[in-house]
């Protein structure tokens, strides 16, 4: 460290000024590492920079379709990754959902730090695989931030209070691609289907509690949103352009240390006249063979999607499969 600083002293002042912030960061990081390394004989997990993979299996949760730590459709108040309050963790996920006439793929990365802050970046790709619109595809980017505000879902068994977190998700629609040229020439954006914007921000508050004596996990989320079909069909519309508060919930029964089954419900707003948007729900089984891998399988229903356009009003039900790897 000393040598690094010594080198900068000999560089021309202008260059040194440019370099200073980077080195300041290096300096601070090194100090954190070195100071903690000095106590290494006490315990192996001393530095906050070393991942500790210290949470109990299942308690890192999974990644929902928006990329946030949660189950399949609903974000939990738990911070993603297996890092405890002393450390950090991260994961990547790939989720595929095959519905009757649509297919959703979601992939992304998420980082959880100090059991306090969660950052996520996810891409959703939504393909039409049936009906007259077969060949259309729409995608979006989702950037999420979640902060745990209060409590611990697992330890606080002597309190009624759940672990509580607030989150924000910025969603940017990447537009519609029409590779099969299905006869809707010029359709490139959900705004042409009635959405008033191709980007939007969701706010949510989640409360999660593990009722350990009953082997139950209960989560309730309130989301303040104007996203149409999670944002895949844009934001706001002819029916409403203001955000509404929507209720979401997960209830899971923990069967073993590594296996749980549960169900979810997620209410969605109905802003687009062209889409008879309904609530989504699923029934899932989640398995965490180790802290490095989680698999979630589910039967999911997203309700009717774009029925007036596709001339297909049946509920879009199907299989959900998600793989999460991380630490």
């Amino acid at each position: 460290m000393t040598s690094l600083l010594a080198i900068t002293a000999f560089v021309r002042p202008a260059v040194r000024l440019q370099r200073l912030p980077v080195e300041l960061v290096v300096f601070v990081l090194c100090n954190v590492l070195c100071v903690h390394a000095a106590h290494a004989q006490i315990a192996p997990y001393e530095s906050v920079l070393a991942p500790d993979s210290g949470k109990l299996p299942l308690t890192a949760g999974f990644n929902d379709v928006d990329g946030a730590g949660g189950a399949g459709l609903v974000p939990w108040a738990l911070i993603t990754g297996y890092g405890t309050a002393d450390s950090w963790g991260a994961n990547a996920h790939y989720t595929a959902v095959q519905l009757r006439d649509f297919r959703l793929r979601s992939y992304g990365v998420a980082v959880g730090a100090l059991d306090r802050i969660e950052l996520s970046a996810t891409r959703d790709v939504f393909d039409v695989t049936g009906t007259a619109l077969n060949g259309l595809s729409v995608a979006q980017h989702i950037y999420g931030l979640k902060v745990r505000v209060y409590g611990d879902a697992v330890y606080d068994q002597d309190s009624w209070a759940p672990q509580t977190a607030v989150g924000v998700e910025y969603k940017k629609n990447s537009g519609i691609s029409n590779s099969a040229a299905v006869g809707l020439a010029g359709l490139v954006s959900p705004t042409q289907l009635g959405a008033l914007s191709d980007s939007g921000t969701d706010w949510y508050v989640s409360a999660t509690k593990v009722y350990l004596a009953q082997s139950l996990l209960v989560n309730a989320t309130l989301r303040y949103t104007k996203a149409n079909e999670f944002g895949l069909l844009g934001f706001g519309g002819d029916r409403s352009d203001s955000r509404s508060v929507e209720f979401e919930t997960t209830i899971a029964y923990i069967l073993t240390r590594k296996f749980a089954v549960g169900a979810e419900y997620r209410k969605k707003p109905h802003n687009l006249g062209i889409d008879n948007e309904r609530a989504a729900w699923d029934a899932f089984a989640a398995w965490t063979p180790s802290r490095n891998i989680s698999i979630v399988g589910a039967y999911v229903s997203l309700g009717s999607i774009l029925a007036p356009v596709t001339k297909q009003s049946r509920d879009q039900n199907g299989a959900y499969l998600s793989l999460q790897v991380g630490f």
Binding site: I42, A43, P44, Y45, D52, S53, G54, K55, L56, P57, T84, A85, D86, S87, D115, D152, V154, Y155, D156, Q157, D158, S159, Y211, L212, A213, Q214, S215, L216, V218, A220, L222, F247, I251, Y253, I254, L255, T256, R257, G262, A263, Y265, K267, R278, A279, W281, S301, G303
Partner: protein, 163 residues
Amino acid sequence: MVPIFLFKWDFDSLCRLEKPLNTCSRFVALVVVPPLLLMGGSARADKTLYEAMGGETVLRSAVAHFADNVVADDRINFTFAEANMDKFRQLLFEQFCNLSGGPCKYTGRDMRTSHLKLHINNAEFNALAEDLYIGLGQAGVPYRLQNRLMALLAPMQHEIVNR
């Protein structure tokens, strides 16, 4: 006050019964109600947890397995390098027996005092919990009952993790 308000607000808007069985009412019937019954069911259990787990024989066996797991666990065994494991097993048995409604008195020190010098961090505490889960399983305690015992131990996290 607030939870009652939320509940009322939410199911008023949620369960507008358009059809006899809409998504919401199905969800409430299939997903929300069974856990509530489950919670009610476990609350009126007449046996103590101690008896349900199998009493002294099973609990002593669980504690013995737990001690073996801890000693074999590189994440935390250095914490036990100078520990008297016979005393550890005895005190642990007393504590679990006492907590689960058995006829025992815990004669050890309180959790904060006994762990102060060990500097247990979160990962180590969780490793300990994991070894206990495994030990209880090895002694034949069903997972459902393991969790009932863990529910009694979990709040001690705040006293044991002192970093």
